[in-house]
Symmetry: C2
Subunit: 144 residues, 2 copies
Amino acid sequence: MEPRVSLITLGVADVTRSREFYERLGWVGQEVQETVFVQAGALALVLWSREKLAADVGIADDGADGFGGIALAHNVRSNEEVDEIVAAAHAAGAIVTKPPDVTFYGGYSGYFTDPDGHAWEIGHNPGFSLAPDGSITIPDFGSS
Amino acid sequence: MEPRVSLITLGVADVTRSREFYERLGWVGQEVQETVFVQAGALALVLWSREKLAADVGIADDGADGFGGIALAHNVRSNEEVDEIVAAAHAAGAIVTKPPDVTFYGGYSGYFTDPDGHAWEIGHNPGFSLAPDGSITIPDFGSS
């Protein structure tokens, strides 16, 4: 698993309220399916419903497991890499909260939590290009 | 505030346990003052005591405010920029949990939380070089 982060997803109560807050700071994003993507250098900040994020991670978000309403994503270039890294994380002691599977957006991803409950998604999203150095570029969705 | 993230700090119960977990995944870092820094592309992943992180953010970490045991840092090039961005965040509706002040490592930083309690540090750390594109490089601390 290369040391790099592709996405930081902040789980929020109200995507519009959160988006407006970040826009006031100059962080302008694109909204797609009630999800806001803000290109931030080599990665992207994502604003998404905390409830949906917890369901995606595969946990209850009841405060018992350390989930902090944030997920970090590490994007890779193939479904096979997703499988390999999730298996390696499991072997390293991670809890696999969602085994790799196809996603609603046509990608493939799995989630694990680290020893403190921090959530990581390992994903292959053909729509998000990864440069040779691992930096990710959010495409122009044609939305605002 | 430029859209970029300099550090992702994960609050952990046991820095050694966490460090060993990430090392098993190939994320090798340097430990300085019970804090582990792992260069991860254009940013750094930091492993630090969750208790110390909460104190640094300036919150109680009692579950009431949305703090998830993670802080994002946005590093800038001067103390004045720290003041300006924290003031702008306050004007944008953030709660300033720690007004900008000098830090124990010789830098200058302040913290705010977004509408969902996610914590941001705005910091000037002369020891961490910032490239023109905003990517940060962790120096060689001469530690392991």
